[in-house]
Amino acid sequence: MELTPTLIINQMLFGLALGAVYILMACGLTIIFGLLDVVNFAHGTFYMLGAFAAFVIVSLFGNFWLGLASAVIIVGLIGWVTETYLIKPLYGKDPLYPLMLTFGFSVAVTDLMRGIFGTIGKTVPLPQIFTGSLMWEGIFIPKYRVFIIFLTLGVLIFLWYFFKKTNLGMIIRAATRDSLMVRTLGINVPRIWTFGFALGVGLAALAGGVNSTIQSALPDMGVEMTIECFVVVVIGGLGSLGGAILGGLIIGQVISFVSLLASDWSNVAIFITMLLILLVRTRGLFGEAGRL
């Protein structure tokens, strides 16, 4: 197989689209960790719930956009309830407790979904507008992947604006640094935490909804995604949004090019990349840059 410039550009574009989904996932995980210090092992489970929520809504109403929006809202609400009733009582205790809780939550919810939806993959049809690829001089990329890239870009712009320019965003950032001080200003910090958790899992649900058209929604689909998402976050540096973005971009390109050159190494490659980066920077690329 000859490595032509066209092939390399195509590979980069597909890698960018792959990375975009990881960015959505990793940003959600980062917000949760940065704000709550909770290592959310159920992040992939919320991704899976997003895919199923999109499937249910699209099946009922036949509208992809409604499905995608509903996935974020429905799963965000599930996240709200989860944080309020399950995670909140564990704040201030050993960090292992919320970690174990989210792990248990993921196992239980996966089994529950298996009981409800069975083991056969559920499909969300690709909207007609996104079928086929954009092509130019041998360079091509599926329209849907272009949508994923722009959607992620839009989400990142929103997150930047939200955290830097809005009062609520600034309060959240302040709460991640010194929640006691924010509390003394009369702000309901526990409510801020709940909102942050819902926002984080909402992003995972968005990624799940997006991927429900190109993969089948399955109860187990979140397991691998959780691991890959942690790799992205660790590469970028725990708690850093910039790190999550860079980590997602790196992993997308690593998977893409290793798939081209040595496909059987594509799974291992992300772990080797993580290992190499951690050897050089033990706290990840942006690990010391602070939070959010």
Partner: protein, 408 residues
């Protein structure tokens, strides 16, 4: 005090009742991947087994008693499967085990069964009748992976083109299929353009699409199974490759993957099946199976459902014929050359290598014409005589076992 005595008494009675229920001694242990990437197929397999068990019990059970069979989840992991089988063999005295849906896991379970002198009825595509894996205790109610490879490759080179590229799931099943395709390609003048190894459980194939598009083969062989198969078909469709000249051949296809693909699974798709439900038009006895399965589960049986049904029914009928549930030597002897007429006409377990000699069906996609469960049309059927190697060859694991695999 009186109240607490009453509660304790009730709990004791309930426990006693439960222990009474559990005391019916199971005669076989079956495991399926009910979670993990093959869970949809594993569920089918379990349902096939349940139906066979139900039918056997309706006809009087095994050795005049209601047959009890333990069924569980192997989590698609060989260590889990072996641990659970061991628990049931050591703890409950079971001497016959069955199930599993993975070429790799079945080989590991077979090795364990051989060491422990336990009869193992594998329901999936498995290489346990080949070479050193052949130990005398393993039977296969599915088929050997190379059979679907041979059948689909023959069909493809005769009807679809010569240049081909393959995406191979990187484990025993996938590499066996790849060997078959390489062998048939050499014999029939095929032009091999490259292989892409895919890790087990992969669900995003987009990174391979530029390479596939740049290579532009006449035939792309999708040699992956489970949720990976759903994903790659959808992603090829997403990229717009499925509506062009390229043909897609899936050595082991599946009903659920075709359903999941929807309109993408069009006339350019060809899949190998050990069983396809429209065979009821050809074999009258299949009609009964399909009706019973449909009534119980609301869907037609897939090839994995057939593998589970055939393996379970044959195992239990062999116990009746051998008049034992625990004498492994007698059971093995009974199953060798065991004749069946279940869902695909008269068949048997070959005495020499314990493989169910069965045909491969090639099903072509029908795209927009698909309706209800009618996803495709059967365009060819290759009998076992055209896909199965001789006993001598299987014993030596030739020719497919001798193939040098690319990149290995």
């Amino acid at each position: 005090m009186k109240k607490s005595s009453w509660i304790i008494g009730s709990v004791f009675l309930f426990t006693l009742m439960l222990s009474g229920v559990a005391s019916a001694k199971p005669i076989a242990a079956l495991l399926f991947p009910l979670s993990g990437p093959f869970s949809a197929m594993g569920t089918d397999m379990k349902q096939g087994s349940e139906l066979a068990l139900e039918e056997i019990n309706a006809k009087g059970g095994v050795l005049g008693q209601k047959a009890e069979v333990v069924m569980g989840d192997d989590e698609f992991k060989a260590p889990v499967a072996i641990r659970k089988y061991k628990e049931m063999v050591d703890g409950q005295g079971i001497k016959a085990i069955g199930g599993t849906l993975s070429g790799g896991i079945s080989v590991a379970v077979n090795e364990w069964a051989c060491k422990n002198k336990v009869l193992y009825m594998c329901f999936c595509h498995s290489s346990i009748p080949l070479g050193k894996e052949q130990c005398g205790y393993g039977f296969v109610s599915g088929m050997i992976p190379y059979q679907t490879g041979v059948a689909t490759a023959k069909y493809a080179f005769q009807n679809l083109g010569k240049s081909w590229m393959i995406v191979t799931q990187d484990y025993r099943f996938g590499t066996d299929e790849l060997s078959a395709w390489l062998t048939v390609s050499e014999k029939m003048g095929g032009k091999f353009l490259g292989n892409i190894y895919s890790p087990l459980g992969q669900v995003d194939y987009s990174a391979h699409i530029p390479k596939i598009a740049a290579t532009n083969p006449e035939i792309l062989v999708i040699n992956v199974y489970g949720q990976s198969m759903d994903a790659i078909i959808k992603q090829l469709g997403e990229a717009g490759l499925t509506n062009k000249k390229m043909k897609f051949v899936i050595p082991k296809s599946h009903l659920w993957s075709i359903k999941a693909a929807g309109l993408i699974y069009n006339e350019n798709f060809y899949g190998g099946h050990e069983y396809y439900w429209t065979l009821q038009d050809k074999f009258p006895k299949a009609k009964k199976f399909i009706e019973a399965y449909g009534k119980k589960y609301g869907v037609p049986p897939s090839q994995d459902a057939d593998g589970g049904y055939t393996g379970t029914r044959a195992l239990l009928e062999a116990m009746n014929a051998a008049k034992t549930t625990t004498d492994v030597a007698k059971l093995v002897k009974t199953l060798e050359g065991f004749k069946m007429d279940y869902n695909k006409g008269p068949e048997e377990f070959r005495a020499c290598d314990h493989i169910r000699a069965t045909s491969v069906v090639i099903v072509k996609g029908i795209g927009a014409k698909a309706k209800d469960w009618n996803f495709g049309e059967v365009v060819a059927e290759y009998p076992a005589s055209e896909t199965l190697e001789s006993c001598e060859n299987n014993k030596k694991d030739v020719p497919y076992g001798a193939v040098k695999l690319p990149g290995k």
